[in-house]
C-alpha cells in the first residue's frame, strides 16, 4: 500500500527532459509563460506549440499522464473558448446557430486564448511530471539565493518544503489509522448530511494535529541533536549542475524567441 504513495505526479521515464537541471526547467518555463502572450499569428502559435509538443515527446511521458494533468483545466479551456464565441461581436458572421450569430473574430479569439491556456498547462505540468518535488525544492532554494541578501529566509523555506514533502506520506498513513480507530468507535464519516459529516471530521483532525505537533517537537530535537544550526556553514549533498543538454535547451529557447518575433504579424 505504502509504495503507491507517490507524492506529486512525477513519472520516472528517465529522458533528456528529466536529466535537465531543475533550475533551467523552472527558468525556461517562466520565460515561456511570458512569451506565450506575445504570439499573435497562426505561425507564431505554431512555433510555440512546436516547442511544447516537442518537449512533451522528448520527455517520453505517456500521453495518458499528460492528459490526466490537463483534466482539471479542460473545463476552463472549453469555457473560455465558448465565452469568446458568444461575447465577441466583431468582423463577419461565420455562421448562425439557434439564431445566435457566431463571428469569425470570436472563433479566432477563442481559439487563440484556449491554445494559450493549453500550452501553459502543458509546459508547467511537464515540469512536475519530469522533476521530483525535492529537485524543485533545491532549484527554488538556488534560484531564490540572491534574496538571502535582503534577509529572506531562503534556506528555511526550502527546508520547510522538504520536511513537508517527507512527512506527507507519514501523516497520510496516520490519518488512515486514526480514521479506522475512530470508525471502530462509531464515528461515521461516509453517511449523513453534509453538516454531520463535517462534525465527524473533528475527531479525526484533533488527534492528527496533536500528533503532528508532537512529531514536530521530536523532529526539532532530533535535528538539533544532529548538529542542525541553521543554513550557515552548511554543505549540501545534492548538487545541481548545468550540463550539455541544459546549454542545448538555452540555445533552442533563444531560437524559439527569435522565431516567435519573426513570425509575429
Amino acid at each position: 500500500m505504502s509504495s503507491s504513495l507517490i507524492i506529486g505526479q512525477y513519472i520516472p521515464t528517465d529522458s533528456v527532459v528529466h536529466r535537465l537541471d531543475p533550475r533551467s526547467k523552472i527558468a525556461i518555463i517562466f520565460f515561456y509563460v511570458v512569451i506565450v502572450f506575445f504570439a499573435n499569428s497562426v505561425m507564431s502559435y505554431g512555433v510555440l506549440a512546436l516547442f511544447a509538443v516537442g518537449s512533451a515527446i522528448l520527455s517520453k511521458v505517456p500521453l495518458s499522464y499528460i492528459m490526466k494533468g490537463l483534466k482539471p483545466v479542460w473545463f476552463l479551456i472549453i469555457f473560455t473558448f465558448f465565452l469568446h464565441i458568444f461575447v465577441t461581436r466583431d468582423g463577419a458572421v461565420a455562421f448562425s446557430i439557434f439564431g445566435w450569430d457566431v463571428y469569425w473574430e470570436g472563433l479566432i479569439q477563442g481559439g487563440a486564448i484556449s491554445l494559450r491556456f493549453f500550452l501553459l498547462i502543458l509546459v508547467t505540468s511537464l515540469l512536475t511530471l519530469t522533476t521530483t518535488p525535492i529537485e524543485i525544492t533545491d532549484a527554488i532554494e538556488e534560484l531564490l539565493g540572491p534574496l538571502k541578501k535582503v534577509k529572506f529566509p531562503v534556506h528555511e523555506l526550502a527546508l520547510m518544503m522538504s520536511i513537508s514533502l517527507r512527512f506527507i506520506p507519514t501523516l497520510m498513513q496516520e490519518t488512515e489509522k486514526i480514521s479506522k480507530a475512530q470508525a471502530s468507535r462509531g464515528v461515521d464519516l461516509r453517511t449523513g448530511s453534509f453538516k454531520d459529516r463535517m462534525k465527524a471530521v473533528v475527531p479525526l483532525l484533533v488527534p492528527l494535529f496533536v500528533s503532528a505537533f508532537k512529531r514536530a517537537e521530536e523532529l526539532a530535537m532530533a535535528m538539533e541533536a544532529r548538529g542542525y544550526q541553521g543554513g550557515e556553514g552548511r554543505t549540501k549533498l545534492r548538487e545541481l549542475s548545468i550540463g550539455k543538454s541544459d546549454v542545448m535547451l538555452y540555445i533552442v529557447f533563444v531560437l524559439l524567441i527569435i522565431a516567435l518575433f519573426l513570425t509575429r504579424s
Binding site: R226, Y228, R234
Partner: protein, 279 residues
C-alpha cells in the same frame, strides 16, 4: 583533546525552578569502548541523562565533561559531533526525503565537503546493512530499517559516543533483534562507546556495565552479573529481572546451588550440566 570519556560531576537538573529535581547529584564516568546500559523507571531521569550528554539540556548544578571539555553553550556544537543520539520514534528523527539524504543531514550540518559525504554514506550504510536502500523514501522502510538508517546517519559523523535512547522500544521483536545485531557489529568494528537507555532486560545483559537509576539518583552500578545477582536491590525499586535470573532464583530455592549468576540460556545450561561434575 582530553581523554576519551564522558564524565558527570555532581550533576543536578530540574526542568523549572519550582519543579522537583529530575537528577540529584549524579556522578559517573563512561570510558572508551564501553557499553553502558542505563536502566530505571519512567521518570527516573535516564532520558534526561542522555539529553544532558548531547547538550540538548544544561545542568543547573555540577558539570558534564565530554573528552575533558565542559558542555556549555559555546562548546555544544563540538560536543554534538562527538556524541550521537538515536531516539525512540523511528519516524520523528528521519529528516531527509530519502535514506541517502537523511544520512547526509548530520554531515551537512557539520559542513563536511561533498566528496567525503558520498564516501561516508557508503561506509555507514554498509555498516548497518542498508546500502541497497539508498534512494528509498522513509515510508517504504520498516521501523527497524529506519532505526538502522538513524544509526548510520550518526556513524557517518563518526562520533566517539552513541546514545540509544530507548531506540528499540517502538519496534517489533524482529526489528529489535535487527538493531541489536547492528549495534554489536558496529561496536566491534568501530572505536566507540555505547550508552543504551532501555527497558529491555535482554539488552541490559549484553552491556559491559549497568547503571541503575532511581528517582534521579544512581542506585547501583556494576556489571550486569553484579547487578542481577543483587536482585533484591533491583526488585526493591520495582524493576524486573531477566527471566533466566528469576529461574536461577527458583532453582536456588529448590536447593540447586549455582556458582555464578547466569545471564542467558547458554550460561544457565553450562551451570546446570557441570553442576555435579567434579572435574
Amino acid at each position: 583533546m582530553g581523554e576519551r570519556q564522558v564524565e558527570f560531576r555532581n550533576v543536578s537538573f530540574r526542568y523549572q525552578e519550582d519543579m522537583p529535581w529530575v537528577l540529584k547529584d549524579v556522578s559517573f564516568t563512561i570510558g572508551p569502548d564501553e557499553w553502558v546500559a542505563i536502566i530505571g523507571h519512567n521518570g527516573s531521569g535516564k532520558s534526561t541523562i542522555a539529553k544532558l550528554m548531547n547538550g540538548l539540556l544544561f545542568p543547573q548544578e555540577g558539570e558534564i565533561l565530554v573528552d575533558g571539555i565542559r558542555v556549555n553553550q559555546e562548546t555544544v556544537w563540538d560536543v554534538r559531533k562527538q556524541v550521537g543520539m538515536v531516539f525512540q520514534n523511528p519516524d520523528n528523527q528521519f529528516v531527509g526525503t530519502t535514506v541517502r539524504d537523511d544520512v547526509a543531514f548530520g554531515m551537512e550540518n557539520h559542513g563536511m565537503p561533498r566528496e567525503l559525504m558520498v564516501k561516508r554514506i557508503e561506509e555507514s550504510l554498509s555498516a548497518v546493512g542498508m546500502q541497497e536502500y539508498k534512494i528509498h523514501e522513509p515510508h517504504r522502510l520498516s521501523g527497524g530499517q529506519k532505526q538502522r538508517v538513524a544509526i548510520a546517519s550518526i556513524l557517518a559523523v563518526s562520533p566517539e559516543f552513541i546514545i540509544l535512547d530507548e531506540a528499540t522500544a517502538m519496534l517489533d521483536p524482529k526489528g529489535r533483534k535487527e538493531i541489536m545485531q547492528t549495534i554489536h557489529g558496529v561496536q566491534k568494528e568501530r572505536d566507540l562507546s555505547l550508552i543504551t537507555i532501555t527497558h529491555d532486560l535482554h539488552e541490559v545483559t549484553q552491556a559491559s556495565r549497568v547503571i541503575v537509576m532511581n528517582q534521579g539518583e544512581v542506585w547501583m552500578q556494576g556489571t550486569p552479573r553484579e547487578v542481577f545477582s543483587r536482585k533484591e536491590h533491583v526488585i526493591e525499586i520495582g524493576l524486573d529481572t531477566p527471566f533466566i535470573s528469576k529461574l536461577a532464583d527458583h532453582l536456588k530455592a529448590e536447593g540447586v546451588s549455582l556458582a555464578r549468576e547466569p545471564l542467558n540460556h547458554q550460561e544457565l545450561l553450562e551451570e546446570l550440566w557441570t553442576l555435579r561434575s567434579t572435574m
